[in-house]
Symmetry: D2
Subunit: 357 residues, 4 copies
């Protein structure tokens, strides 16, 4: 049994929103084809080893950094804070927790100034920053926007072995839990948590961790997401559509999961709901409710439960995994031991794919 992460006495940094992801890719050109040619992200700046990308409604320098490297991994999950002073809070908060903390006045990547990176108690490389270069916001530039235009970075999704332990730490950091998946015994399989008033800035998904499950970009309408699927078919990369499109139960958003050339998972997401009221109710889903992950009851593919991206420590080395010991969502819902239901009280084994499993 793991012990709880203590709550620091130092105040948490005031986080505005999830802001960018730094991703290590093994073939920068292939990744460029995926993120720029296929998904239509806009190149703010590029060097021999890095590409800085943004969506059409981002007005800071980037919300995705691709960096050439030896193995696919996540180098940083970056949050924007409310003022420059919040970086001091971040330093104090994590120092008190005994975490490794590094601060660079000139930033860790281009476009960003003073920044703090930590390896947080869950093992993830987290960055906090306020100073950032502004660039043209392409909101009104419909002449540049493709049929599958991406508007914003919406959230991260992290894999951790112990979801309640991770969620408790995130609440200490100032997040609020908006939805979760549980079973009758109290096992928590996943939890969604937010700073901005949407369903999440990040989620904690149960599994061997720390790993990144996915990064999600928001589109405006459902047809934008369908257009990405159609384009992937036309480019004959439909085998990189992993799951969806569909409607989530959790979050109520319309979604699609696709895989980049290194297997990093990207979600395209639209239309979750307002959570900004102080008494926004927590929505809890039963892990056996077959509409929790897909409102239309379409099956979650096994890879979606098992695969995720390694994360790096501040030296750039992959962080070793801790195994999940709690019950696993895939096992309790799919296959020989699992069941899920469409209507509470019904029992349906191997839902919809039954005979294949």
């Amino acid at each position: 049994m793991t012990t709880d992460i203590p709550t620091p006495k130092a105040p948490a940094p005031d986080i505005v929103r999830c802001a960018y992801l730094e991703l290590v890719v093994t073939d920068l050109q292939k990744s460029r084809e995926f993120y720029v040619d296929l998904l239509g992200l806009v190149v703010t700046e590029e060097t021999e080893n890095e590409i800085y990308l943004r969506t059409f409604e981002e007005f800071i320098h980037h919300n995705l950094v691709l960096r050439q490297g030896p193995v696919p991994a996540v180098a940083a999950l970056a949050y924007r804070v409310r003022s420059p002073e919040e970086l001091d809070h971040a330093v104090a908060f994590y120092t008190e927790l005994g975490c490794r903390v590094e601060r660079r006045k000139e930033g860790f990547v281009r476009g960003i100034g003073d920044a703090v990176r930590v390896q947080d108690p869950l093992g993830f490389p987290i960055e906090y920053f306020y100073e950032v270069e502004h660039v043209e916001r392409l909101t009104w530039r419909y002449d540049l926007q493709p049929s599958g235009a991406l508007a914003r970075l919406d959230h991260f999704n992290q894999v951790v072995p112990d979801v309640p332990r991770a969620a408790k730490h995130m609440v200490d950091l100032g997040f609020r839990v908006t939805e979760d998946i549980e079973d009758a015994e109290g096992t928590v399989y996943a939890a969604w948590m937010r700073r901005k008033p949407s369903v999440h800035d990040t989620a904690m998904t149960g599994g061997d961790g720390p790993r990144l499950h996915h990064v999600a970009f928001a589109a405006h309408e459902k047809h934008n997401i369908l257009a990405i699927c159609d384009k992937m078919g036309a480019l004959r990369v439909s085998d990189r559509i992993e799951r969806g499109p569909g409607r989530h139960g959790v979050s109520n958003a319309f979604y699609l999961y696709i895989l980049d050339p290194d297997g990093h998972r990207v979600e395209i997401y639209t239309q979750d709901y307002w959570t900004g009221d102080p008494d926004n109710p927590l929505v809890t889903w039963d892990v056996h409710d077959n509409q929790r992950r897909d409102w239309w009851g379409n099956p979650v593919v096994p890879s979606w439960y098992t695969d995720a991206s390694a994360v790096l420590d501040l030296d750039g080395d992959p962080v070793p995994l801790v195994e999940r010991t709690d019950a696993k969502e895939m096992e309790v819902t799919v296959g020989a031991d699992g069941f899920s239901y469409t209507r509470k009280g019904d029992v349906e084994h191997g839902f919809k794919l039954g005979e294949q499993l």
Copy 2:
């Protein structure tokens, strides 16, 4: 080896379009909930044992008849012909083929006048009619249309053991083949054929037959189809979503397959293409092309290949099945013996669901 159906010397009836389906259901009230409350079809008329339904852009009396009966089955696939005289052509055409032919001046169902029913050489109960009651076309009645409004009956899809034999007969009847699925050895797995200038009025799908694979209604936009999925989730009948939503390769239409309370399959369909030019090119798909059935490469569920509705003869008795002896699409593409590819030349076993199969 079955022998070819001869080409009659009598001219074929001039068919305008597929017009309505008569369906036997075992619980009329449950079926009403599905077709009226859930799908939003409009009731033109109903009796104790029958419900006459139509879509919002149909101006004849009905395009779906539900009739209470002892076993789920299809009582008639009805086509509208260009003039009253075409019924004489239908009689002569099928009489020459040795088929049982029945003509009723007063029609076989309400709303329809003079009509001919035959059990065609493929075993299906087919109706031809011209005379029909006109009703209010609800095209402009947006006050009545739900978010998933259905506009038109689009097509039938029939299961037959020998696709080329069936297709040849349909061509004799005046249909044109628009697309098909074949393999390198020349086996034909399915063929689409049309009278109206869309991809099809009906299709022939290889399998034990005669059976009806599905009936399809057209919606205007993709979001209308997604709205039906969302509604089925809200009503907790998502287990009746069998396949999709998705984009077809064949036809290029956006689709959804759902199952009514008796297991009759209904497709909701939108946005195929114009085929009305006299030299409209036949589009042939390789059975191993994993985008032929779903452009996004999402797997076809086994039930979609195996299940279909029995059809009745003119006495109302189920027509016995003839087994398919040619290779079966499911077997050559899914599971232990099958393979399909995203990019020609690649070999991928048990595509996307691999580890589960």
Copy 3:
């Protein structure tokens, strides 16, 4: 009073559909920016003086030809016929009417073979052809399709001084009238007529003629049309949006009217309805019904009533105009003498723009 155009004894050519428009433009480069860069039409072929364009679901060589010339005009409205022999019918039909007829085995434009051009009794340059070069149908090429992708050529709309006279001639030519606008006195202001089973292949709009009111391309969904508006805003050419977007009363289609650099009017159009049944009912609208032209009651701008493109005779000279002597729709519905109503029985002067007029 003009006399009726006689009905030829010769059979009319069997027309499949409206197929392409040849347009004379005064600055080919500017027109290319409009049709290719802005609207996204695909260039099949281009020469110094001509550009051959097509939409994404056209499989013949082109459905729009731009030709550099001294004055903006329409050189041909082209229809595809059902077989090569139909050209003989076209020659006989128009010869009997005393029209000038020209036939060229090698075609009048690239991509087309044997073709007949006539100056029809209404004064329009009409082409008939069967032989045509096939090109790649880009239906499935979602990698090439912009957010405002155009799928098909849908219809022409012609301005004529005497609508019933023109409609009668078109019926002789094999067209069926699907909708019209009339007043209580029997004046006909416009009529829609079709060969293919949509609301129209062409329409006759009352005004000084012969002129072309517009050519219309079909998109799949309403958001595709909105995307064109958004792009025109981004390119700062919103002053070329003449009318709409909106929902038509007539045809029930969603529409947008924009103006090319020479003032040729282009409609983008989606989702009219099936008219292919032999007894498809004629829909008649009252000219004073303010929802006939825009279902939402938004005002028709005056230029839409008054402006149209000159047409050329077979020598390439502009055809002189004949003045409309019947009542004019703009005058009876807008401004000092006009009125229109939202609800029959109400009288509303200068509807919605009242105080400005």
Copy 4:
């Protein structure tokens, strides 16, 4: 010249978001038809004289109250605050400003507990509350949602004679200005300001005031808004569509303005952008830019500039109007003295409607 409203020393109440509008209507049954039958708002509760309504993603008791009364007017613009204690801040803040302040532990309307109402320095009746009854959030209830489903209350829009004076006061109250419309001389015609991280919770529009210009509800997608237009056509109330649908320049949202039976203006709105970053840039538009109000350059109808709803003081009496003395947007952009441009540098008089004006 009016004097500035002083900045109180007392801290402003911490406002979460605009939360509900209380509207006085003269025929409750007619208003019910408009808001419930036409727009599809959900009735939480109703009495003989009041109807409490909410959108599908609202989880508090209501976001619109209709109250029967003698003259059409606005009784309260209500904001939700972050905690019960913020009501004390509201009392202190407005007391210091010399405003009339009223507090009721039991609330002013059903469903709300402890609340403070003030007549603010701009003359508007403003309510602050925290305590509120929770009701079922209908987010997932797709079985109840019509094609034009409304998701959230998005914003208010207020008419004030002196926009900079009003904006300064709102900034004192903790709002941030996101966009405005100015001219080269520095006249400010309108300003948008927010608490939640969207473009606005309210806007100040220049004109004789205090009046309410409109209340806006958010839909998810553009087609939802078009569905409302289509339905208004079908119900023959298209004359209550005042302006749009269209794309705003300011806010980049897709919009529609309609009028309720009393002439209260309702906007339906979707897809503005994230403004929650602390350094979110102010976007300023030139009043002569013809795309500022409608990105597609469609004309703003005069009534949209001139008409607005009276507001009531805390005794329920209409607040007298103060005339705007600054230049008026309608006059500087439309008609004899006005001009606007599509491309900076061009001069276009009476844009698009020129000849009519």
